[in-house]
């Protein structure tokens, strides 16, 4: 045993030459432990016994409401202006539109717009109306019966305009092996301004 009063007691027990001191628990460590236990107990009581705080479903509800209100306002504003929109010829807008097209539209319409599961976007025989505003409406509302998704609320208003502008440039291009025309009543639409 050591005789230094500064040193804590050295215990007699010896395990393969290893000895142990009998220091007291560090006070800050003990308080840390108590603090964590108190926090844990308070947390469980607050949420599950007093039921004072929202659980995850309620939390989601309020988050959803706030976000949805913002989005609906923006969409309503955009939709009020749809009738006046014209295809953009701005290079940056068209580049953005192409990016959106490749990401979201190409899986069904092919990267070149020649049609795959979705119809060919390059010919003049459009199923749901072929002017620019019709196209924007289809993008926004979709055609659920035919498998066209609604992009309302997914694409930002500026992206809808950009991708519609890009699609407008596809018309009149001649991709290889296009999907055959599917419309019921062809309506000639005249040449694309990009031809």
């Amino acid at each position: 045993m050591n005789n230094n009063p500064q040193e804590p007691k050295l215990l007699e027990h010896d395990a393969d030459g290893i000895r142990e001191l009998d220091n007291l628990l560090p006070r800050w460590w003990v308080w840390l432990f108590y603090g964590c236990i108190a926090f844990a107990a308070a947390y469980l009581v607050y949420y599950h016994i007093l039921k004072a705080g929202p659980l995850q479903a309620a939390e989601y509800d309020s988050e959803w409401k706030t976000g949805e209100a913002l989005k609906s306002a923006a969409l309503a504003k955009f939709e009020a202006t749809i009738g006046t929109l014209t295809p953009s010829q701005d290079k940056a807008v068209l580049a953005q539109g192409q990016q959106v097209f490749l990401t979201y539209c190409a899986p069904c319409h092919r990267p070149d717009g020649g049609g795959l599961v979705g119809p060919n976007l390059c010919d003049d025989y459009w199923i749901h109306g072929s002017n620019f505003v019709d196209n924007i409406k289809i993008i926004i509302n979709g055609v659920p019966d035919k498998g066209m998704l609604t992009w309302r609320g997914i694409l930002k208003p500026s992206e809808v305009h950009a991708v519609a502008s890009h699609i407008y440039t596809l018309r009149g291009t001649k991709p290889p092996n296009p999907k055959p025309r599917e419309d019921q009543a062809p309506k000639p639409t005249g040449p694309s301004p990009f031809e």
Partner: protein
């Protein structure tokens, strides 16, 4: 004291065998990790072989590192420090890329051998009182056995395929109770045992506080077991279980730090040795890494932190702080201590060991810092909304491409770490060459029964009593580790409200079952979650959040824990069949820049259907309500669905796809995912309200392939 001396021998051969196994498995595990790390920025690195994809190698990496490297390290250390005197043939052939049922039984047997050995040693010991290191080994032995057996309950369908008896939410709870406590009792308690032996040995200092050992041991093993649900925060797991997981994780901080303190404070008065002795340097970094990781773990268990961190590289950074720092460095430390003693010589080169230390430390920095950066970046990008309430980065791939530079830096870190381990291997090899192996060490100690009771052994806390009764200590430890699991499992099993059923959710069709098994075989779950959390940032991206009732036929559950790719729970109906076909053949064809590997073999390999009846029968046994005799018509059902998919593919300009290939089954499964409950297209169902179920089709469900789901708000 010197009366009745017994002479006996420590068998160094076993220790050497485990030490060598540790080194070899370390190199294998590190190399596998480096390879898959590189695949994340260089997907072609699997050389287009199905055996080397990320999904298949990731389990190899984790299993090699956890069970082979750390496992052998643990055995090595336990044998030294518990002084085994009953040499048994402890051979472990640890080649489990897939831990299927025959291997599960083998593991259980190996563990039994280990436990017999450990307890046999303890009973035949010559120490009256069990030292703290032994307490930790006892906790390790009994808890790992309990975890492994409970989690591996499965019913075999074929020689190498089984289905878990648990489904969905329950399977998730059991699995994370297992996985979390594998960390606790395989990677932590066993290594604390090693620390308690090797640190005071090397520092030649007494352990700081016996009292701290007692408190932190019992608190640690009791509290750890409850914390598993913190891996399932904001999932379909009931709120009360999530809250328990979080609360107990917070309480775990102090007990974990008790171990760190007892380690670091033992070095008081010996810090000069740390400067000179590489073995102690490794030890100090290991203990520090342990302290950091065990503070970070509870922080990540706070729900609002987890909301950001979960599914990102933050978790990867966290586990590697612990794995590279705590387990890796502690193992290196023990090896450097052991080899010179096994070969009765000096370490070949201190200089090389110092190089290893700095390379390893640098490697860790280059690993974890980029991963924190990457995890926080991606987590924030996923959650970012514009002022107008739209997702700022709706395209998942865009958030992945941001991380590529971080993945490259991480690979550099891994390379450093591996190089360090190679230096060590060389150093140890030269050490062995220079010395002469000492196969047995003859020692003398007084027989247990002749040891007198020391008056000094009385301690005010009375813990000495249990230290001399190993079986009582084992019993108490078993009670301590059993309580948490029981409190969490039993309500989950007996109270139905915990998993509200949804009438529209039906069992998978035969083709979908086989497709799901391919999904499992390819390890898709390693990169793709199937659990949409209740956040607007997730429901906007993926669709309605996942409900507990949707997973009742999922044996096993496939919620995943990391989103290297997007969540797939509502992928069904989002893309046409042809898109999936092309995407599996070459992801970059349809998603330029994607880091997913190619799966061309799915397009050429024939679907194995011979085992279909056995699989259906086994699934029925674990609780999936297939009608009696369904096995007889399963094949016809399967062929009809194959034909529908082939027809759909023709629509997508794929005219030559044979119906009997694996890809068809996988497409069937993917198109089914998350479609059983439907959300109204224009106005998403009021949140919180039960999802609108689709008209419930008869079992088995007709596939809805290639019918684009208009309700789905998901992309990429």
């Amino acid at each position: 004291m010197n009366t009745d001396l017994e002479t006996f021998k420590y068998d160094n051969r076993i220790v050497r065998a485990f030490a060598i196994a540790t080194v070899i498995w370390g190199l294998v595990g590190f190399s596998a990790g480096l390879l898959i790390a590189c695949q994340l920025f260089w997907p072609e690195l699997n050389l287009n072989l199905q055996f080397t994809t990320f999904g298949r190698l990731r389990p190899l990496h984790t299993n090699a590192v956890i069970f082979a490297f750390v496992g052998n390290g643990m055995f090595m250390g336990i044998i030294v420090s518990a002084a085994v005197t009953l040499p048994l043939g402890l051979t472990t052939s640890k080649e489990y890329a897939e831990l299927e049922w025959p291997i599960d039984i083998a593991i259980a047997l190996v563990w039994v051998v280990f436990a017999v050995n450990l307890f046999g040693t303890i009973l035949k010991r010559r120490e009256k009182h069990l030292y703290v290191a032994i307490w930790f080994y006892i906790a390790t032995a009994i808890t790992v056995a309990m975890l492994h057996i409970v989690n591996s309950l499965e019913i075999p369908a074929t020689a190498f395929k089984s289905y878990s008896v648990y489904a969905g939410v329950q399977d998730a709870l059991v699995q994370w109770w297992y996985a979390h406590n594998a960390v606790a009792f395989f990677l932590t308690t066993s290594y604390l045992g090693l620390m308690y032996y090797f640190l005071p040995k090397a520092a030649e200092r007494p352990v700081f506080s016996y009292r701290l050992s007692i408190i932190h041991f019992w608190a640690l093993i009791f509290i750890y077991i409850w914390a598993g649900p913190h891996h399932l925060l904001y999932t379909a797991l009931p709120d009360w279980a999530q809250s328990l997981g979080m609360a107990f994780s917070i309480m775990l901080i102090a007990p974990s730090w008790g171990g760190m303190l007892n380690g670091l404070l033992t070095l008081r008065g010996a810090w000069n040795k740390v400067r000179e002795e590489p073995m102690l340097k490794f030890m100090v970094v290991a203990i520090t890494a342990y302290g950091m990781a065990t503070l970070e773990g509870p922080m990540l268990s706070i729900k609002s932190v987890n909301a950001l961190s979960h599914y990102t590289d933050w978790t990867i950074a966290h586990v590697h702080t612990a794995a590279l720092g705590w387990n890796g460095f502690l193992t290196f430390s023990v090896l450097y201590w052991l080899f010179p003693r096994l070969y009765n010589t000096k370490l070949y080169s201190m200089r090389l060991a110092n190089w290893h230390f700095w390379l390893g430390l640098l490697g860790m920095m280059f690993y974890v810092i980029p991963m924190y950066w990457s995890g926080i970046t991606q987590g924030l990008m996923w959650k970012q909304f514009t002022n107008e309430g739209f997702m700022q980065y709706p395209n998942f791939l865009e958030t992945v491409l941001q991380l590529i530079p971080m993945y490259k830096l991480r690979a550099i870190g891994g390379t450093f770490y591996l190089l360090g381990a190679c230096l060590m291997t060389y150093n140890l090899y030269r050490t062995a060459k220079a010395g002469v192996f000492v196969p047995e060490v003859e020692v003398q100690a007084p027989a247990l029964k002749s040891q007198p009771e020391h008056p000094e052994e009385k301690h005010p806390w009375g813990h000495r009593w249990i230290e001399s009764k190993p079986m009582v200590l084992t019993g108490f430890a078993l009670v301590a580790v059993a309580i948490g699991g029981l409190v969490e499992f039993i309500p989950m099993w007996i109270i139905k409200e915990n998993v509200p059923t949804i009438a529209a959710v039906k069992p998978y069709t035969p083709l979908e079952v086989l497709g799901r098994d391919i999904y499992i075989r390819e390890g898709c779950v390693g990169c793709h979650s199937q659990m949409i959390r209740p956040f607007r940032s997730e429901t906007e991206r993926y669709g309605e959040y996942s409900k507990a009732g949707e997973f009742v036929y999922d044996h096993p559950f496939l919620w995943g824990s990391k989103r290297t790719g997007p969540d797939l729970h509502r992928i069904g109906g989002k893309y046409p069949d042809a898109w999936h076909f092309n995407h599996m053949d070459d992801p970059r064809l349809v998603s330029p820049g994607s880091i997913m590997p190619r799966y061309p073999w799915l397009l050429s390999q024939k679907l194995e259907t011979n085992s279909l009846p056995a699989r259906i029968g086994t699934l029925r046994k674990v609780g999936v309500p297939y009608p009696d005799g369904f096995e007889a018509t399963a094949q016809l059902n399967l062929e009809a669905q194959q034909k529908r998919i082939v027809d759909n593919l023709k629509q997508g300009a794929i005219t030559n796809a044979p119906a009997d290939r694996e890809i068809i089954a996988l497409v069937a499964y993917l198109q089914r995912l998350g479609t059983d409950i439907k959300v109204k297209p224009a106005a998403p169902a009021a949140p919180g309200a039960p999802a609108t179920p689709s008209p419930s089709p008869a079992v088995p469900i007709a596939p809805k392939t290639a019918q684009l789901d208009a309700s789905n708000q998901t992309r990429n």
